[in-house]
Amino acid sequence: VTALRGAHRSRSSAIRRAALGAGLVIAWVVGSTLGVTTPVAPKHAAATPLFQIEPAHAGFTPALDGTEPVFILVLGSDARPGETITGERADSIHIVALNAAKGRATILGFPRDSWVPIPGVGTNKINSAMVDGGPALMVKTIESLTGLHMDYWALTWFDGFEAMINEIGGLQMVVPFALHDSYAHADLEPGKQVLNGHDALAFARTRHALPEGDFGRSEDQGRLMLAALAQFQREFQQDPAAVFKWLGAGMRNARTDIPLDQLMTLAFTGANLDGRHVTNVVVPGSAGMSGNISIVNLDMTKLAAMSKDMGKDGLLAKKNVPPSPNASLLASS
């Protein structure tokens, strides 16, 4: 009986508490609905903050982080307006090797007149591989020459390159020495400047003003890539969405087999590369003749050593970095 009474008291108490709670809820809802307000005196921030507030930053982008290097064959077609972009000679040829884990990269240029075996064709100038088989044969040729597997290729052309530079708003770079070359429409003074598409193309094409001709030009093309990387990184720091502007300008004016999602990942990876640790070199060699054709004989011993070195991690050890073909100009500028 006592237990039952206790239970009865407990139920009554619970009902009272429920009624109290429900009453408060109803009062709050009705009061709120009718606009009943509670006057609150304005409060002012304390003269001395009681809490320390610091600006904060958090960033994450889906960049590559693996130890496996990524190799991309970057090509420039000699196609003029109206010509088939993939059916003309590739006069600009570079392997870009990216080591995301180390935040480093290598740009390895090949002179366009390099006399090399082209799979299924025979020995010829390396740039003719594109005429014979487009970017795919260029990839095969470079792979058989170096033993390095190309993960992707990307190809631009005269008009595409010029438009690309204009669409990113020009390219800021330090022109390392004066370049005056009527063949390339180049009339550039040394120093830091913003090149428009026309001038950037002229910089990329100039070889008559360089002591080592196409070797020096190939290095300068790598120099343009480094300037673009630096500018991209500056813009990314200010506004990470700049990556879209660069991807748009790049893809509208280039062809590639890199899927867009991978391209985005590569772009985010590039944003974190240390430009000071990107090695820009050209395969050494010497000018020669094959019959009445002027050619470049690559230094195959050095190329083999460089390829083997890059195959490990995409990077070149100091001992395998050849001297700059523009060294004399750089020294005097």
């Binding site: 009624a19 009453g23 709050w28 409060k43 304390a46 809490f51 879209f244 748009g248 867009l260």
Partner: protein
């Protein structure tokens, strides 16, 4: 009410029985109508969206506390084509549709990260990261937590948090087939937090969130976010009596 909750004086059995009988009928009469009326009022308010003062509370989270309503305002939308012959005017409506689709995702993210008291009072923000990719979620809930959310110790610091305003500019990247591939959302989010010592902090979160269309739904795959919180004065007239509803003075932004 105080009298009802007071411990009753000792009575004999018959008094106790008669006391119980006397109380039984009035309690039932009070409780049932009160609950019914309350439920009816709540139902009307939910269905009509009426009532300015509680209109900011849209739903109740898993922890049971109401979450202040918040909607980002979608501002400028810029399409970015990747096809050689990309026609930006043709891409514009598609870009706007993509932007619209990402707004509810970002509403959820920022509500979960800053406004849901069921999250910030516990310092647990899982619901804020439901729309994140695994990698982005790991970063946001790890080293990014103090910036992306109100922080692990917010429950010890704040009493209430209410939204002020939020806007987003969008860059929409298209693939070469003209499909919206990725969205860069330039986010500006402002809220007002009241500390336990009755001082106020303007919560300012801004930056870029990258979203990808993953099989029909948009997912946050990356972010570059900053916080610039600062001391601020109390709102001129805090009018609401409801919990976490002090946003009436600052007001949530309009629907996107």
């Amino acid at each position: 009410l105080a009298a009802r909750t007071k411990t009753p004086p000792p009575v004999n059995r018959s008094e106790r029985r008669s006391h119980g009988k006397k109380r039984k009928a009035p309690l039932a009469l009070i409780v049932v109508p009160v609950v019914l009326i309350g439920a009816a009022i709540a139902l009307v308010l939910v269905l009509t969206g009426n009532g300015d003062t509680i209109g900011h509370i849209i739903h109740v989270g898993g922890g049971g506390e109401p979450i202040p309503a918040f909607d980002f305002k979608a501002a400028k939308v810029t399409p970015i084509g990747t096809a050689e012959d990309a026609d930006l005017s043709a891409l514009q409506p598609k870009a706007e549709a993509a932007a619209r689709a990402t707004v509810p995702v970002l509403d959820d993210v920022f509500s979960g990260a800053f406004l849901d008291p069921n999250n910030w009072k516990d310092g647990s923000y899982d619901s804020a990261f439901e729309h994140f990719s695994d990698a982005a979620s790991a970063s946001a809930s790890g080293p990014g937590l103090p910036t992306i959310t109100l922080g692990a110790a917010a429950g010890d610091t704040y009493d209430t948090v209410s939204p002020s305003k939020g806007s987003i500019n969008f860059d929409v990247l298209f693939d070469r087939d003209g499909n919206a591939f990725s969205v860069a959302a330039h986010v500006k989010f402002y809220a007002l937090a009241q500390r336990k010592d009755d001082t106020y902090v303007a919560i300012v979160s801004h930056g870029v969130m990258f979203l990808r269309n993953t099989g029909g739904s948009w997912q946050v795959v990356g972010f570059e976010m900053k916080r610039n919180d600062h001391e601020t004065e109390a709102p001129a007239a805090s009018t609401s009596a409801g919990p976490s509803a002090s946003s009436t003075s600052t007001g949530a932004s309009g629907a996107s």
